[in-house]
């Protein structure tokens, strides 16, 4: 990463789109980045090329439309993919020479090809179940997406939300407890949202009313929730596991027709209620933030609270209620741990997911859609590791596990660059 860095400095870090003044500035960052990845990819795919046949299984047995499994000769695919990567990098360089921008879909295609090449390379002589891989990725990403949405709302309104981890954990604990007692997963979900709101209330009260540094409150709240849930787990849930910690899980709902779309259908449309709520939440938050009065006020308060106050927006109240809303969303993500995937509550079961969600928020540049994509990327990378370790990957599993985090560092250092958050995020507003 530090090898690319010196090149970046003299050029414009992030040229504004379509700005007339930037027309002559050639930003070599993208082609150089693509070139480095092409070289790395070629070393792996061709230099350390493996022989054998890689099989991509594209359908599950329950699908209506059965796609045949695709057999790819590993070494030949590696060579083809490397050449394609080289072509894209060269094209990008040619575009930049002509002072044009590399289109985003080209970078997407590059990433897809690189990934495909890696999958084929890693699965030489074995088969990879693509729907299973994607399904697992989505289910790992669901709590991250909820957490990231909560983070986006909270930070857009000007309150840094480091307490996502605590909100997820509180949601997971409460939903397990309530769903076990009532036998209703839906009540568990509501309870989880309420727990998230409670944590958010504390965050909001301390940061908005008492002007305590928001990062401090967030960090401390994580510890507090971890302590309270751990304490209650040991004292109450563990001794009475049969009555208090056996929540019923949500049933899977297959959406007719849509769930029969090849490859994507089983992944996206054979999910539990909580995942459908997540799809809705992503769209609602996106539309809400960028296309409604509510969103405009929210962003105004987060960018320039004094201006918002001047035009008559109640800054403290806007912040308070939106942070609470963010808590409810993150709490719902916590419920997915107990009602969607794992089942019973376990101590520290969120295992740092809240921090990953926070990284997704920043990686996604405080934008709900981008943050969701970042969360999906994290989910995919973690699940890829577990799938590859089952089929016996040539790479030590630790390095596979490390990959998503390394990719994030690369991305944040190289692509996102000087990402700029909401201007007043983290700053208390004191009405004078």
């Amino acid at each position: 990463m530090s090898t690319i860095a010196p090149v970046i400095v003299p050029t414009q870090p992030t040229p504004p789109e379509n700005g007339p003044a930037t027309a002559v500035i050639r930003n070599w960052k993208t082609p150089i980045g693509l070139g480095v990845f092409t070289v790395l990819g070629a070393i792996m795919l061709v230099g350390f090329g493996r022989d054998g046949i890689s099989t991509m299984v594209l359908s599950t047995t329950s699908d209506l439309i059965q796609l045949p499994a695709v057999d790819l000769p590993t070494r030949a695919t590696g060579i083809v993919v490397s050449l394609l990567l080289l072509a894209i990098a060269a094209w990008s360089a040619w575009l930049v020479r002509g002072a044009r921008k590399t289109p985003i879909w080209l970078i997407g295609l590059f990433a897809f090809l690189l990934l495909l090449g890696f999958l084929v390379w890693a699965s030489a002589g074995a088969s990879i179940p693509i729907p299973g891989l994607l399904f697992g990725s989505l289910s790992l990403a669901v709590p991250l997406i909820f957490g990231a949405l909560g983070g986006v709302i909270s930070e857009r309104v000007g309150v840094v939300n480091v307490a996502i981890e605590g909100q997820l954990l509180a949601g997971a604990f409460t939903s397990a407890l309530v769903a076990s007692i009532t036998g209703q997963p839906l009540l568990g979900l509501l309870a989880a949202m309420l727990a998230g709101v409670l944590v958010a209330f504390v965050l909001a009260a301390f940061s908005i009313k008492y002007f305590v540094d928001q990062v401090i409150v967030g960090v401390v709240l994580n510890v507090l929730v971890s302590g309270v849930t751990g304490f209650l787990f040991t004292q109450l849930l563990a001794p009475n596991a049969a009555t208090l910690n056996q929540p019923p899980k949500f049933d899977r709902i297959n959406i007719p027709l849509l769930s029969e779309i090849p490859i994507l259908g089983p992944v996206v449309f054979r999910q539990t209620l909580i995942v459908y709520i997540m799809y809705f939440a992503v769209i609602a938050v996106y539309v809400g933030i960028f296309h409604t009065k509510w969103g405009l006020r929210l962003r105004a308060v987060g960018e320039h609270p004094q201006a918002a106050d001047t035009v008559g927006i109640n800054v403290a109240a806007t912040r308070f209620w939106n942070v609470s809303l963010a808590g409810a969303i993150a709490g719902a993500g916590g419920a997915y741990f107990t009602l969607g995937s794992v089942g019973a509550f376990g101590k520290e079961m969120t295992a740092g997911a809240g921090f990953i969600a926070l990284a997704a928020v920043i990686f996604g540049r405080w934008d709900p859609i981008r943050a969701t994509l970042a969360a999906l990327l994290f989910g995919f990378a973690s699940n890829l590791q577990s799938v590859l370790s089952i089929i016996g990957s040539p790479v030590p599993s630790e390095f596979m596990l490390m990959l998503p985090y390394l990719v994030t560092i690369f991305a944040v250092a190289g692509l996102v660059g000087r990402s700029r958050g909401p201007a007043a995020s983290g700053k208390p507003y004191i009405k004078s």
Binding site: V223, L224, I362, M402
Partner: protein, 433 residues
């Protein structure tokens, strides 16, 4: 403006900063009398009494949790109206039992015969406090420069891996070996921290993301090295390193009966160093200037990005001291990938409680060390889960960070010389953007 971290904490929390300016304002009057007057006023109205009350409040909340979840209390609550005294007795029994076990496990055990035996828990407290103080200093240093170092875990792991390797694989004479391992560990932590600073300075990558990510990278890297790399114990399937050589281990300070080791003295030295660095050195002045306002610092001719790199190097080095302390002092029989035991995260609360001041961090570290040492005996003697300590610790920090809340609860008068008007500076800062 663009590389101002949008969510780094300001060097001192706005609410917490209400008192330090007051004492600073007193400083110019150098004659002894007014200084003592200022100290007296600070004790009665300022942060000292708030800190004590915060601890009391947090312990009260902890007591409620202990009482509510206690079996005896739940039983006697069932017949509260026929014999209320039973309930009160049981509550008292549960709470006092837990807290006296906490005290006896962390300060002085009255059950032992001699003073030398009775004081053992306190030396254990200092042992637990040692890495907390070191890592807390590192995090606090970052806070003062406006950087939020959540990467304590990774920095400790890398420090333990590099320093630990020197400790078990290299043959050196007594003394030199210890110093070599120590330096290697500190350098390891500094390397891992400095990487974050370099990324921030060069590319503007947000340190909150990079430190979190590097935590995971370090964890998996060290796991791999323990399983197949140069940290593996030959002939063992356990992902655990060989034991540190005798020549590299920190000597005991009080003889073999106590666990207290050289690490504690090193941490005192580190505290003095950090204090000197932050309040007496040229570099520390630039650090604080960047932490207070990076734009103003840049205008004043300070290279902000260079300060970020230096600060993360030093911060990582201090956290690395905590990591190498684990390998050379606490778990000398070989370490696994969890050698950090959560200290990197605890250090954040320690730094917050210590208000990012070196001696404050020192005191906070000893307090948290006492909680840690006492929690084990509390769990053993009374069956109260260790997690209660987390609750109490976090509540202490929360209450201390919000003096108005504590004042409201105890109906203390609002001190007239800590004006709320001092704060709107922040608004100007926002307005300037």
């Amino acid at each position: 403006m663009s590389d101002t971290p949008p969510q780094t904490p300001s060097a001192t929390p706005p609410a917490g900063s209400a008192t330090p300016p007051a004492s600073r304002r007193d400083r110019p009057q150098t004659d002894e009398e007014s200084r003592w007057h200022g100290v007296f006023r600070e004790i009665t109205s300022g942060s000292a009494i708030i800190s004590v009350l915060a601890v009391v409040l947090a312990l009260l909340v902890g007591a409620v949790m202990i009482a509510v979840t206690n079996d005896d209390v739940q039983e006697s609550a069932g017949y509260f109206f026929s014999r209320p005294s039973d309930l009160l007795g049981d509550i008292w029994g549960a709470v006092s039992g837990a807290y006296s076990a906490l005290f006896q496990g962390s300060i002085y055990n009255f059950g032992r015969d001699s003073f030398a035996d009775g004081i053992t828990p306190f030396t254990e407290t200092l042992v637990f406090a040692t890495p907390l103080i070191a890592a807390g200093l590192g995090v606090a240093l970052g806070f003062r420069v406006g950087l939020f170092n959540i990467g304590g875990r990774g920095q400790m792991l890398i420090a333990a891996a590099i320093g630990g390797w020197v400790a078990f694989a290299v043959d050196l004479p007594y003394g030199i070996h210890l110093v070599a391992a120590l330096v290697a560990g500190i350098l390891g932590g500094a390397l891992w921290g400095g990487l974050v600073g370099l990324l921030k300075a060069r590319t503007g990558a947000h340190e909150v993301i990079t430190t979190i990510m590097l935590n995971y990278v370090a964890f998996y890297l060290v796991s791999y090295l323990l399983r197949e790399g140069f940290l593996r114990t030959p002939g063992s399937n356990n992902p655990k390193s060989p034991a540190s050589k005798e020549t590299a281990i920190f000597p005991d300070l009080l003889g073999p009966d106590y666990n207290l080791h050289l690490g504690f003295l090193l941490v005192i030295a580190a505290t003095v160093f950090t204090w000197w660095l932050l309040s007496r050195s040229n570099l520390g002045f630039q650090f604080r200037a960047v932490g207070e306002n990076p734009n103003a610092a840049r205008v004043a001719g300070i290279s902000v990005s260079r300060m970020y790199v230096y600060a993360m190097l030093l911060s990582g080095g201090l956290v690395g001291l905590a990591g190498i302390n684990q390998v050379l002092g606490t778990t000398t029989s070989g370490f696994g990938a969890t050698v950090d035991s959560g200290i990197g995260f605890d250090a954040i609360t320690v730094a917050l409680l210590g208000r990012s001041k070196p001696w404050g961090v020192f005191a906070a570290g000893i307090l948290f060390g006492a909680f840690k040492a006492g929690s084990f005996s509390m769990q053993a003697a009374e069956g109260v889960p260790i997690d209660i300590v987390l609750v109490v610790q976090s509540l202490i920090v929360l209450f201390i960070a919000a003096p108005p809340l504590v004042r409201a609860i105890f109906r203390l008068p609002t001190p007239s010389d800590t004006p709320r008007r001092a704060r709107p500076i922040v608004v100007k800062e926002v307005a300037a953007k």
